[in-house]
Amino acid sequence: MSKVDAPAEAPSPQYLAWLRQQRRNRLTVRGSQFIILVIFLVLWEILPRAQLINPLFTSYPSAIWPTFVEMLQATPQQPSILAHTWATVLATVVGFTAAMVLGIAIAAALWRWDGLYKVVDPYLVVANAMPKIAFVPIFYIWLGAVLSIYGMSLAISLFITILMIYSGFQGIDPNRVKLAQTFGATKWQILTKVILPGSVPTLIATLKVNAGLSLVGVVVGEFQSANLGLGYLVVYGSQIFKMNIVMTAVTILAIVSSLMYLAISWLENAIMRRR
């Protein structure tokens, strides 16, 4: 009666052919993806060298690694590029973790007190639609050079986090809540035993969104106020017209955001495998 399929004794030739076809399709997709990356990098290298593009504007991909190695060394004026990267990563992780914790707490409060939700709903929607980047200079004045970056990272991801998680809570089948009620569950028990565990897929989807947003908040915050961080390096490099510094910082940002995405996907797989 259990829904476990019995394995076929010997795979048929048709099945083996199908498997080969699947493998070919997968390789074609991966190969195409790789080719696109190679074409991009080759054009970026060749066009400036052929003077079709002003190399002053774009630098070269081949310049990135040497720039990176050179910048590993801290100088009296400039800390190591690893310190810059760490500052950005730390602010991002703190930002989206805080957004997640606060977002869940606020969404839970809105779920608990429906009247509260009705009152604050329009403010939440406006706060979410507002371009938070406009607050960068204000945060700088209010919070100072370092805290304003954390503040930006939180502000940019908090409201969408609240809205996504709250709508996830609302999406839980009311009959599951009814089931808990028949056993006499309190609101708190319904939250911890039904709503929160039932919202895990929503929480992961939210994490994916707000991790990316937090990184945006940090970089923008660093544009304004920092003397440390990848956002600062981008601004610094462009001010002294050293595009190789800018491109190196941007490349590291691309790697950091890819790694964050991979980490969250890994977390997702680890959790969903248990379901």
């Binding site: 259990s2 009959n175 009620q181």
Partner: protein
């Protein structure tokens, strides 16, 4: 025809006195249930049938204490119901097993919520699941089980907190007809053996006649009690036949047709 008065001397297990329920909306109020009075004796199996939307499921929510009546009162063991009670267990239309909990942990949900002794509860849950043929699936996840097995887990979850009264809200409606028939036999046997009082809400006349001793027919909204029918099967050993056997008993068709007409007349009216 309405001749099914429960024994007067015994205090009813569940009693409804002049219960009415109205829903309020900005565009007016809706009368869902009107002046319902019922008595259900300890150990009795009662079915409530009626057209959809007649409020029969709402009636169960009232007895379970998760909805409050606008008029009248609901009593369990002579005491007014003022909220969910441990004496009452509720089995919903679908199993609503939590996919993140193992079969055993799903069964333990009620005990956990009620703050029961978890070691005892775990023993009881294991015993129940084993008796229902799920002993080897304790640590499986719900998605690994078939529909009939899942519904048996839901029954174990309801019985794990040992309520006296079991409310069954179309508990087989999500199952295929074969599983349905088999599970009806099992559920009736289990509930009788445990001496539970059961109230079954269904729109399936055959299910009502074959499983219960008394069928209450409700009218269209606002739901009221239209008629009551005692269901009796002659049996050589004095025991009531199991639901599947009852469907082949000579009395079955008579009851079925009577109830069918009750409902049909009402569709025209």
């Amino acid at each position: 025809m309405p001749d099914a008065a429960p024994a007067g001397s015994v205090r009813p297990k569940v009693e409804l006195r002049g219960v009415g329920l109205r829903y309020f909306g900005l565009d007016g109020e809706t009368e869902a249930l009107k002046d319902i009075s019922l008595q259900i004796a300890p150990g009795e199996f009662t079915a409530i049938i009626g057209p959809s939307g007649c409020g029969k499921s709402t009636l169960l929510s009232l007895i379970a204490g998760i909805v409050e009546p606008t008029e009248g009162s609901v009593l369990v063991d002579g005491a007014a119901v003022s909220g969910p009670s441990r004496k009452v267990g509720y089995m919903l239309q679908q199993d609503y097993l939590f996919e993140w909990r193992s079969i055993l942990d799903n069964t333990l949900l009620g005990a956990e919520i009620q703050g029961a002794d978890m070691r005892q509860a775990r023993e009881r849950a294991t015993a129940l699941l084993t008796r229902y043929g799920l002993g080897q699936f304790l640590h499986h996840l719900p998605r690994q089980l078939s529909g009939g097995m899942r519904q048996r887990v839901a029954l174990a979850r309801t019985l794990c907190t040992d309520p006296d009264v079991i409310l069954l809200d179309e508990p087989f409606s999500a199952l295929d007809s074969q599983t349905r028939l088999a599970l009806a036999d099992e559920v009736v046997e289990i509930l009788r053996r445990e001496r539970k009082t059961a109230i079954l809400v269904t729109h399936d006349i055959g299910e009502a006649v074959s499983m219960t001793e008394r069928v209450i027919v409700m009218s269209r909204r606002p739901g009221r009690v239209r008629s009551e029918h005692a269901i009796r099967f002659a049996s050589p050993d004095g025991h009531r036949p199991a639901p599947f056997a009852a469907r082949n008993a000579p009395e079955f068709n008579g009851y079925f047709n009577t109830l069918w007409k009750e409902l049909e007349v009402h569709v025209e009216g």
